[in-house]
Amino acid sequence: MNKLIQNEMMKLIAKKRLVVIALIIGVLVVLFTYAQYKEVQREREKLGTNDWRTILQQQIVDTTNRLSSNRLSDEWRQQLQISLQQKQYYLDHDINPAEPGAPTFMRIFLENSIDLFIPLMVMVIASDLVSSEHSMGTVKLLLTRPVKRWKVLMSKYITLCLAISLIVAIAGILSFLISGVVFGYKGWEAPILTGFNVTDTGLNTTDVKLLSLWKFLLMDFGLVWFVALVVGTLSFMLSVLINSTAAGMGVMLAALISGAILSNMVSSWESAKYFFMVNLRLTDYMQGSPPPIEGMTLSFSLLVLFIWWAAAMAVSFIVFTKKDVY
């Protein structure tokens, strides 16, 4: 088994996929850092200050004014109201919700890449793990060895898990190093609030917890990693089922993008919450944003993702061990 994993790792490294992914992440982080920097500059110019309390107070008033418009949809209104209450809570307790620095940038980067960007990067590796063996004809060489088929697949899956862990780590390290050049490398100890409960009546702040940013980040990383793992497993399954890599990737891509679109409009279609792709934004629960569909909670999303994961695992292994290879 150990040998098999080593062998798979070697193939992974030889393909240089991780390097390509690191490059993509690096370029995007540079872009985001620049965009964020511009945003901060613009805000400062507009208000003539970089005092965060003034900026936050101004945002609160601006949001209040947007709420007074009667052309808002109900969900949008609720979202604005919750973000308003959160901001007010931060302000009342004198905590800067976005302490400038690389760790805050990392947090924002993670929260925004959890449902599309990181899964896409994972797909780059996962979607041809098995199907490429078919297209290159190496699958026969692999299966003629005196090793059980499930062991072969298992070694591939374990390699995938390690690769996903590495991708998440690369995203974290690169976003920290690159954004730090502009925003500075401090701010690990900055306080952040979590545990806001979104209820029908608005925001419940009785369970609010105060965390250091580094602890919060580690939790965020854990959630991002879990999402990446589930998406990776699903594309792994497709790679087993469909011999064409491009087709497998297309299916997965369609699912991910439909998830991003669905989350914006499914609030009235309740059973859509059992789709894996509307459950990807786990970090939103930590932060206290309202879920896309009423009744979704962290444990619900985790459970849904876990079931999809387990189903994908079962299908992959059953199909791969039974499949005729010719």
């Binding site: 070697m10 101004q58 862990s165 979590t194």
Partner: protein
């Protein structure tokens, strides 16, 4: 490719695997079992005003402060700031805390917030518009303005105004406060004359309350909108348009000294 390199990458992968797994477990554990811990209350002196340069303006009030109806989005506050920037050659920092539809009751609540207090504290000039929504109630005031009702509303409003100005003075003894009075947007309507009478009376009482405080200047706008009111009103026939806001801004600008 050396075997050691492959092994190294594998080991790093395993380390991060365990780290992220731990993070996931911690996140779930903390989310469900973590003890609520409310953030420490901060004392006001922690938030001392940073040393500033230039002129600082804080505007509070209703949609007039906000600039509703102005196509350029500036409102009288924005126009005023532009003019001051030109005249003083200093940097002017504006915090506009105006909220659409705000009544004197709501403003009374708003000025008690600690951050709003801090914004007032650091201001050189405080601009206030309030009362329009108390009196006109979005046009409904046009229908029923029997005098008993109006008297009750006005009494409450004057009490709120007194409180608001007190609160401003408590936070900042130095700043000049410009309190912008009401105009009558309904002056050309059927009952415009009666309404004007009420507005004049309202303004008079507001000016009286303002006079009770040092460095609070009541700025009348009634006369600005007395002739050709429709040229200066937005399509809702209630808020000023760009030209109307310019009139108000010019009047305030001529009063500002520094």
């Amino acid at each position: 490719m050396s075997k050691n390199y492959v092994r190294l990458v594998t080991i790093i992968g395993v380390v991060f695997f365990l780290l992220w797994l731990g993070g996931l477990g911690w996140a779930v554990g903390n989310y469900y079992a973590g003890k609520p811990e409310s953030p420490p209350q901060t004392s006001p002196q922690d938030k001392a005003v940073d040393n500033k340069k230039g002129l600082t303006i804080t505007a509070i009030g209703d949609s007039l402060t906000r600039g509703t109806g102005d196509e350029t989005g500036k409102g009288y506050v924005g126009v005023l700031v532009d003019e001051l920037k030109e005249k003083t050659k200093q940097t002017v920092q504006l915090t506009n805390l105006g909220i659409n539809g705000q009544t004197s009751d709501q403003l009374r609540q708003q000025v008690q917030q600690s951050e709003v207090g801090r914004q007032i504290q650091k201001a050189d000039i405080v601009l206030v518009t309030i009362g329009g929504n108390d009196l006109f109630r979005g046009g409904q005031g046009l229908m029923d303005f029997d005098s008993d009702n109006i008297t009750a509303i006005e009494k409450k409003y004057l009490d709120n105004l007194n409180f608001i100005l007190q609160q401003i003075r408590k936070n900042n003894q130095e700043a000049t406060v410009f309190f912008v009075g009401l105009y009558n947007p309904f002056i050309e309507m059927d009952q415009g004359k009666e309404m004007s009478k009420i507005v004049r009376h309202w303004n008079y009482d507001s000016a009286e309350v303002s006079a009770g405080f040092p460095k609070v200047v009541f700025v009348p706008t009634f006369d600005l909108f007395e002739l050709n009111v429709n040229d200066y009103l937005y399509t809702d026939k209630f808020h000023p348009n760009t030209k109307g806001y310019r009139l108000i801004a010019e009047r305030v600008a001529s009063l500002v000294t520094w």
